[in-house]
């Protein structure tokens, strides 16, 4: 199952307040578009695609012979999944990505002064952890939404299964009755 819904109005308002409080220069820092879409995007912008790709890379954190989240195109799979969501849910998730990416969020959570995509891995993990354990329930919800979508898109892909020991679905016997 991919993601979750319902959310982040309070977080967005909080972000806006921070911006007006003097952090506008942080809010305007740009997304590092390290990941490029393979296919035309249905829902996400190219920036949002890059943000989610960066999040997925840290959430799943592959090692060894397991394919990377980019190799599985987790962000592309997420974009395709989102295409079936109601418009309002799509819009909420996109707002969530932009809020999480914003350098102000890093400052507010004491996890750096860069955008998420431009942050080093250590600070990216710190930001994820800050949201996961935040005393503000709505930030925990936001973390869950991003984590679950990333995990779902990666581990539903057959390429990811060998690393888990899952052999895949069994062969069914041939033939029919009735």
């Amino acid at each position: 199952m991919e993601t979750r819904r319902g959310f982040l109005r309070k977080g967005l308002i909080g972000g806006a307040l921070l911006a007006f409080g003097g952090g506008a220069f942080l809010a305007l820092r740009r997304t590092l578009r390290a990941a490029k879409p393979r296919n035309p995007l249905l829902v996400l912008s190219e920036s949002e695609y890059a943000i989610f790709a960066a999040i997925a890379a840290r959430v799943v954190a592959v090692d060894g012979d397991a394919p990377s989240t980019d190799a599985v195109d987790v962000a592309g799979r997420a974009d395709a999944a989102m295409a079936q969501w109601p418009d309002s849910v799509q819009a909420e998730f996109r707002r969530l990505l932009r809020l999480f990416e914003n350098a102000l969020t890093g400052a507010a959570t004491r996890t750096g002064y860069e955008t998420f995509t431009a942050s080093p891995a250590r600070m990216q993990d710190a930001r994820l952890a800050a949201w996961a354990g935040s005393r503000v329930a709505i930030f925990r919800s936001g973390y869950q939404a991003m984590k679950r979508l990333a995990c779902a898109c990666y581990y539903a892909a057959p390429e990811s299964w060998p690393a888990t020991g899952y052999p895949g679905p069994p062969e069914l016997p041939f033939g029919e009755i009735e």
Partner: protein
């Protein structure tokens, strides 16, 4: 040699893509929803000679075309909100089926009759005087025959379920082998993704073809938008539905309107109250959408030094109700879930290396789930279903309080003891920062973990309540015959009528109680 059963077409079924224009239909009875309640009601009503039209929001799926044992395909296609249903705060993940057949498309085939303790409570506290095993028994007998419900043999218990069976036995905790609605089951383990062999006797292979065989017409991909009332607001006159495009799950712009003499709402414990709320039906005491119960689930994850392969085999074959009666506290019962990679990855806490390392051990992992019997304590009002954004979206709230927390902590301790007794190397909770349990001394750390939304993984696969039955119109939505208190030609036939949770998996309760109620509906004059 066991072979695969062929798909059994539902005669008179029309899919959304086949509906090329607005339709205005008429019937004696219009049923909204094709899960266990709607399906058996449609079969009973059609058998009585009524002209029945059944509307289903989800698509119509078959083994050959749709059930490929792939999580990426199954959850978006076969579950509510494309597998994304959850409480507003995302604190409780809600697994709920969607499609022709409803929850029976994807449930794990576990069958229990309603426990006597639950029926007794409903009689005593909710005025449901004739909710008795004697009344429902003949209907359960018929359903059990039709769905081939049989107790599993111990040889069918896979290694995942054997952890509960053997661990509990070593601790002297009583367990039971489960009954399942399957025929010639190959034990693939993929019940939750649509049975790939048609072994599961769900509604799409039983009561829906039965209903269609008696003339009922089934319209898939048709989402009921609202019930239309007469000018005096005393009777329902029609159901308006929007036709969905199966490819995109979005409205096509075409509408189906069904006029009928009687109406049955059977959309399940979240969608039924939502439809009643969207329709603005009389609800003078504000009872619609209240007392929503979820059997909130917590799990513990056990790691073994041997393969468990928790994705193969009958998903559920063992349970324990040894802890269902806990006077003054919330009871719980224990079962085992299948663990496929995607579902497991959502359940495992954390991210990054810790999460990845847990996933690497999937083949040696077992989980035990504890399902809380909610609604039995005096102050346990459960959750709520309401509307937001002009009725276009649902709001599902379920506050977890101290009584839930106490039961969850105790349940995790019991589950961990069972897993360790079965030979687990270690057990982990699903807290944000998991408690690692290697012995009895570690269990106390469960009490020290913070408790709140998204600090502990909580799930539900059983949704109940929201249109509670009861004798008192001030405290309930439908009466003891499941007929709406304020609208004489409207019945609610699904798990939403349960005034508390059940304490067991719900499908057989829904089938038996609705079958008995449909009998009375047929006999009733309106």
């Amino acid at each position: 040699m066991k072979l695969l059963a062929a798909d059994r077409p539902i005669a008179n079924l029309m899919r959304g893509r086949e509906i090329g224009s607005n339709l205005a239909l008429s019937a004696d009875v219009c049923v909204v929803g094709s899960g266990p309640g709607g399906a058996i009601a449609a079969a009973r009503l059609a058998s009585s000679g009524a002209r029945v039209i059944l509307l289903e929001e989800g698509g119509s799926f078959t083994r050959k075309a749709d059930f490929h044992m792939q999580e990426a395909e199954a959850y978006p296609k076969l579950y509510q909100d494309h597998g994304n249903r959850a409480t507003d705060d995302l604190g409780i993940t809600i697994l709920q089926g969607r499609g022709v057949g409803g929850g029976t498309l994807v449930n794990w085939t576990t069958c229990f009759r309603t426990p006597e303790a639950t029926l007794a409570r409903w009689r005593e506290r909710h005025g449901l005087a004739d909710f008795t095993a004697e009344r429902f028994g003949p209907h359960w007998d018929e359903v059990e025959s039709r769905l081939n419900i049989r107790q599993v043999d111990v040889s069918e218990v896979n290694d995942n379920n054997a952890v509960l069976l053997e661990g509990a036995k070593k601790l002297g905790i009583e367990t039971e082998l489960l009954r399942r609605n399957v025929l010639s089951c190959l034990h693939t383990g993929y019940c939750g993704m649509g049975c790939p062999t048609n072994a599961k006797r769900g509604m799409a292979l039983t009561y829906l073809p039965d209903a269609a065989g008696k003339g009922a017409r089934v319209y898939a991909d048709c989402r009921a938008v609202r019930l239309v009332l007469d000018a005096r607001r005393e009777r329902v006159t029609a159901v308006e539905a929007e036709v969905l495009d199966p490819a995109t799950d979005r409205p096509t712009g075409r509408r189906v309107t069904v006029s009928a003499a009687r109406f049955v709402v059977a959309g399940g414990a979240i969608n039924s109250p939502a439809l009643l709320l969207r329709s603005g039906l009389p609800d003078p005491h504000g009872r619609v959408g209240k007392r929503t119960y979820l059997h909130p689930v917590v799990a513990t994850i056990a790691l073994f030094d041997r393969r468990i392969d928790p994705y193969y085999g009958a998903p559920q074959s063992v349970a324990s109700h040894a802890f269902i009666e806990r006077p003054g506290r919330t009871g719980f019962f224990l079962e085992v879930p299948p663990l496929h990679p995607m579902l497991a990855s959502l359940a495992l806490p954390g991210f990054g290396a810790a999460h990845r390392d847990g996933m690497k051990l999937l083949s040696k992992t077992n989980a035990i789930i504890a399902l809380l019997r909610d609604g039995f304590l005096p102050d346990d009002e459960g959750g709520t279903v309401s509307l937001r954004e002009g009725g276009t979206r649902l709001s599902i709230r379920y506050p977890l309080g101290e009584t839930h927390a106490e039961a969850m902590r105790e349940a995790m301790k019991v589950s961990a003891r069972i897993q360790l007794a079965a030979g687990a190397r270690e057990v982990r909770t699903l807290h944000k920062d998991p408690v690692v349990i290697r012995g009895e001394r570690d269990l106390r750390f469960i009490d020290e973990r913070p408790f709140g939304p998204n600090l502990l993984g909580v799930f539900t696969a059983h949704q109940m309540g929201g249109c509670a039955a009861g004798a008192d119109p001030k405290a309930s939505v439908v009466d003891g015959n499941l007929r709406h208190h304020h609208l004489a030609n409207l019945w609610v036939f699904d798990g939403s009528v349960f005034p508390t949770s059940l304490g067991v998996n719900p499908q057989l309760s829904i089938l038996g109680i609705v079958a008995a109620s449909a009998e009375r509906m047929i006999a009733a004059k309106t």
